[in-house]
């Protein structure tokens, strides 16, 4: 339970970090909170030759609402979301979701952007990013590019990020008051990796769903929106029957992973449940 040898680098500016990545990104790893990387190194499942410590790059420690986006700097910790970081349904959703991420002490260290870069299939933040349509801002010495969440997550622990690139920021759209959000996750114990989870955002007018974003995580090798379920819901009145139809559509569309805690049939069953419950939560108290 001791890591293999590595060299440690702690730049204090973004430029210095990008320079390190440019020369040694292939066999190096960026560390911020170390939530997943440190255990993987201690198990010797990850053996980076170099470790680039982001924590000294103060310019990336920000979290602010700006121009319709929530801008999440690379050093923003999970704990920063314990209270809504912005108003409206986006802020409410984030404050709800964060309670499902690991445990309180871990949330003090782990970062939002680190979760996005790591791309665990059961990452709550990856699911939120996919569902809301986040923009991932990646920078290298060659420049900056913005990658939509739908193009960013490729597979389990695999993203579109290049070895010389750093996620400097993740941007989430701030939904207006016409939207409602909901989230439901099932894990074996509080704080465990979710076996299935659903995040939803619905724009509802006069009791009818006008737009729907439904994302499922923990079920397939990366979190993704569920077009069939979204289509099943749009145009429908907010009601249990419509939720059940959307949940069935999710269950029919997903191709679940299998592991020790869940086979495909059980994960499918869970995805149906978390979807139905996330929709119910989004519309709870809406009077319909």
């Amino acid at each position: 339970m001791k890591p293999a040898p590595f060299s440690y680098h702690a730049p204090s500016t973004l430029d210095a970090m990008l320079a390190l990545l440019a020369e040694g990104g292939e066999d190096g790893k960026v560390i911020a909170g170390g939530q997943s990387l440190v255990p993987m190194m201690n198990f010797r499942l990850a053996r980076p030759a170099r470790l680039f410590d982001l924590n000294g790059v103060a310019e990336l420690d920000f979290l602010r609402a700006e121009g319709g986006w929530l801008r999440i700097g690379a050093l923003a910790r999970h704990a920063a979301f314990h209270r809504p970081p912005c108003g409206g349904p986006t802020g409410a959703l984030l404050a709800e979701v964060v309670r499902h991420i690991a445990h309180y002490p871990i949330r003090q260290r782990g970062t939002f952007a680190g979760s996005i870069a790591h791309a665990d299939p059961a990452s709550e933040w990856c699911l939120v990013a996919a569902t809301l349509g986040a923009e991932i801002v990646a920078r290298s010495r060659a420049g900056e590019r913005r990658i939509g969440a739908g193009d960013f997550f490729l597979a389990s622990l695999s993203t579109a990020l290049r070895p010389d690139e750093l996620i400097v920021e993740v941007r989430l759209p701030i939904l207006d008051a016409g939207w409602r959000t909901g989230f439901c996750e099932f894990s074996r114990r509080v704080g465990d990796f979710g076996i299935a989870m659903t995040a939803v955002a619905l724009r509802v007018e006069s009791g009818v769903v006008r737009e729907a974003r439904i994302g499922v995580g923990g079920v397939e090798d990366h979190p993704a929106r569920q077009p069939a379920a979204e289509q099943a819901l749009v145009g429908q009145p907010v009601a249990a029957r419509a939720f059940a139809a959307a949940a069935d559509a999710v269950a029919g569309a997903v191709r679940p992973m299998e592991d020790l805690h869940a086979d495909a049939a059980y994960r499918r069953h869970l995805a149906r449940t978390t979807t139905r419950r996330a929709l119910e939560q989004a519309c709870a108290g809406s009077g319909s």
């Binding site: 339970m1 001791k2 890591p3 293999a4 040898p5 198990f43 010797r44 099932f186 074996r188 114990r189 509080v190 704080g191 465990d192 990796f193 076996i195 020790l260 805690h261 869940a262 086979d263 049939a265 059980y266 069953h269 869970l270 449940t273 139905r276 419950r277």
Partner: protein
């Protein structure tokens, strides 16, 4: 004493241990260091079963900072680890050597040991040790037919190491007279006690004195001292084992393991202190596992559900080797299966089978967690078969008070099982009154009618405690009136300093603050049994009482301030038998297939409590572990014998969020008749019936009697169970 003697026994005195622990003064194995120490890292087999052809250590030895790398050839003179408890003939071939000789028998089997200047280098070097293993098909089930244990080197030695049989009464007559025969097949999964502190040791050789000292001892320091001395060919008195703070034992920590012997041997051979701290992944593969038993039960019952005869065939998965516990778990399973019921005719055959999993040993309520689950599932099945209430069927079978003491007709751990005292029907009545049982049943029925899946279940059990043969204590008082109680018991976190001090204070009539309790040190007392089998309060407690009384006698008429010392012994031929009932209310969420424990109640007759607060603490902690085994914890292996559960990411112990506040209903209606304090043990009260109660409650919640046949009831299993009905 102006106010008359202060009472200590029976009072919820705060733990004397806690000030040090709460202020960060604890010294656990990993906290210990010695100048110039080396660090040991064990290289473990990556395959479950195979012929070990060679171990290439050349590259590892070349790594800077590495002092030594050992394989079996370096330790071939060290005999295998002997059996401490329940040693029966014929087990010798199954004992484990400290490093694998010619076969590896589980993933985690030690094949080499690296000694290096720091733990990082030791781990780097361990990666450079290359065992050449010819992999063989693994056996991962004790219900499969036996095979050869080590075919090439021990031809003809079967993987069934023993069959433990216990029987009495006329079983044929019972089945001939049966109104109905109820059959059942159930199993308890593989799980174990997982202490917060992993194993660890620091061994030092003092060349001036010629003594070897191992710190990090836990459960049975005196026994282990003798074994280390024997295995390393030293006189007993030149070896000392010393216990510091211990972060939990549960039967698992503190048995003699290969690593303990390796550390001691290395300190002697390398002439430097040697430290070893196990990591969690190693712990989950290398420290004793437990449970993992399958039961096939047949009961002959009359029309009321009275059991005329019970026949059991049990398969006990021993894992790769027979370790220090010998056949303790199978023996207790067979002896304790009849539990609190009369059962006039009985036979159990327990097959002890070696498989290619981590070796198994005892875990809190060994052989009882499993047998209680099987027996209570059977009682529920009988109730269902006859259309009778489960509580009433139990009542019909309970041993009546006027049959006490009750000779169970079997023996275990070398002593006849004679229930010394008990009023089983009374405890059942008290529990039902506490629960307001009829109203509880109505409330649950109403919730079920409203669409919820809620249910109630209980499990009745008899515990055992106070295993002999003897314990010793030495108490001395100095000129200032400070009292020292030296025991051979071990503290594994259960609060023995407090309990022993209370007993001493009560007898001597001195304030408890003046008493210091010593334990777990072979250099302070020549006899000690450590801490296991819920024996310390009974055995050590009575020895402390005897020593305190002897001291009083010596001091009679002496001047105040006269220093004095006295020793006391307590001997017991028979154990004492507390008993209890676990009751659970659970809710099943069909959407997630999760089981939520809403209420968990433990009714337990302790005979007499030395410290009710500590008793309650034991019960709550045990219940949490019991719920863990019922719903969460399981070591799963794939078909090749690869362990799939080797981290806390997959070995799921319940947290505060998964358990309700445990309600303890402790009674003192049946004091022990075999000891002067009237005390019985508390250590295993909280865990024994947890699997049984939760299984019954899940059945009830699903409205499907007999649905649960296997623990743990995981969501994936429940999903399959619910799917079967569609």
């Amino acid at each position: 004493m102006a106010d008359g003697p202060t009472r200590y026994i029976g009072m919820p005195h705060k733990r004397l241990e806690d000030r040090t622990l709460l202020t960060g003064g604890g010294r656990f194995a990993a906290d210990l260091s010695a100048p110039g120490q080396l660090h040991m890292r064990v290289v473990r087999s990556p395959v479950a079963f195979g012929r070990l052809r060679s171990v290439d250590v050349r590259e590892a030895r070349r790594l800077p900072g590495v002092v030594a790398v050992w394989t079996f050839a370096d330790v071939e003179r060290i005999p295998p680890i002997q059996i401490r408890l329940t040693k029966i003939g014929g087990l010798e071939p199954y004992q484990q050597t400290v490093l694998a000789r010619d076969y590896v028998r589980y993933v985690g089997d030690p094949v080499a040991a690296v000694f290096a200047e720091d733990p990082y280098v030791a781990e780097d070097a361990a990666e450079l040790v290359f065992p050449e293993i010819e992999e063989l098909p693994a056996c991962i089930s004790a219900t499969e037919p036996p095979r050869e244990f080590m075919p090439e080197t021990l031809p003809g030695v079967s993987s069934e190491a023993a069959c433990v049989t216990k029987a009495y009464g006329d079983l044929d007559a019972a089945f001939a007279a049966a109104h109905e025969v109820v059959e059942l097949e159930v199993a308890v999964g593989r799980h174990t006690g997982v202490p917060l502190e992993t194993r660890g040791a620091l061994a030092e050789f003092d060349p001036a004195k010629g003594t070897l000292t191992m710190r990090g001892a836990a459960k049975v320091p005196h026994y282990n001292r003798g074994q280390v001395a024997r295995m390393l060919d030293m006189p007993d008195e030149m070896v000392h084992l010393i216990q510091g703070h211990v972060g939990g034992g549960f039967g698992v920590r503190g048995e003699l393991y290969p690593e303990d012997v390796l550390v001691c041997h290395a300190a002697l051979r390398l002439k430097r202190p040697v430290k070893w701290v196990e990591d969690r992944q190693e712990h989950l593969m290398a420290a004793n596992h437990s449970r993992d038993q399958s039961y096939r039960l047949r009961a002959a019952v009359d029309a009321r559900g009275f059991i005329l005869g019970l026949q059991a065939e049990v398969f006990s998965d021993q894992g790769g080797y027979v370790r220090t516990h010998g056949v303790t778990v199978p023996d207790l399973s067979a002896a304790m299966l009849p539990g609190p019921y009369l059962v006039p005719a009985y036979r159990a055959d327990v097959h002890v089978r070696l498989t290619n999993k981590t070796p198994a040993g005892t875990y809190r309520a060994p052989g009882r967690y499993e047998s209680t689950f099987a027996r209570e599932r059977l009682l529920d099945a009988i109730a269902h078969a006859l259309g009778r209430d489960p509580v009433e069927v139990r009542r019909v079978n309970l041993i009546p008070r006027d049959r006490m003491p009750f000779d169970r007709g079997v023996d275990t751990l070398g002593t006849r099982v004679v229930y010394d005292s008990g009023d089983y029907a009374l405890l059942l009545d008290k529990l039902l009154a506490y629960l307001d049982y009829d109203r509880l049943k109505q409330a649950l029925a109403a919730r079920r009618a409203a669409g919820e899946h809620v249910g109630f279940g209980l499990g009745y059990f008899v515990e055992k405690s106070g295993l002999g043969p003897a314990d010793k204590a030495v108490i001395s008082i100095d000129a200032e009136g400070m009292v020292e109680v030296v025991t051979g018991a071990a503290s594994i976190g259960q609060g023995i300093e407090t309990a022993m001090a209370q007993i001493c204070a009560e007898v001597l009539e001195v304030p408890i603050e003046r008493i210091r309790v010593v334990h777990g040190r072979t250099d302070r007392i020549d006899y000690g049994m450590g801490a296991f089998a819920s024996r310390v309060t009974v055995m050590t407690g009575c020895a402390v009482k005897a020593a305190a009384e002897a001291l009083l006698e010596k001091l009679a008429g002496a001047q105040v301030g006269t220093p004095a010392s006295a020793e006391g012994w307590f001997r017991a031929d028979h154990m004492t038998y507390p008993y209890g009932i676990h009751a659970a209310v659970v809710r099943v969420d069909p959407g997630t297939c999760a089981v939520h424990v809403e209420r968990f109640v433990v009714a337990y007759d302790i005979g007499r409590a030395v410290n009710p607060m500590l008793v309650e603490g034991q019960i709550v902690g045990g219940a949490v572990q019991g719920i863990g085994g019922a719903l969460f914890e399981e070591f799963v292996y794939d078909a090749n014998g690869q362990p799939l559960v080797t981290t806390f990411g997959d070995y799921l112990m319940p947290t505060l969020a998964e358990v309700p506040p445990v309600e303890a209903l402790v009674t003192e209606d049946a004091p022990a008749t075999q000891n002067p304090l009237g005390v019985k043990g508390a250590g295993e009260a909280g865990i024994n019936g947890a699997g049984a109660a939760i299984a019954a409650a899940v059945d009830d919640a699903l409205g499907r009697p007999g649905a649960v046949t296997r623990l743990p009831v995981t969501p994936i299993r429940l999903h399959r169970l619910l799917g079967e009905r569609d």
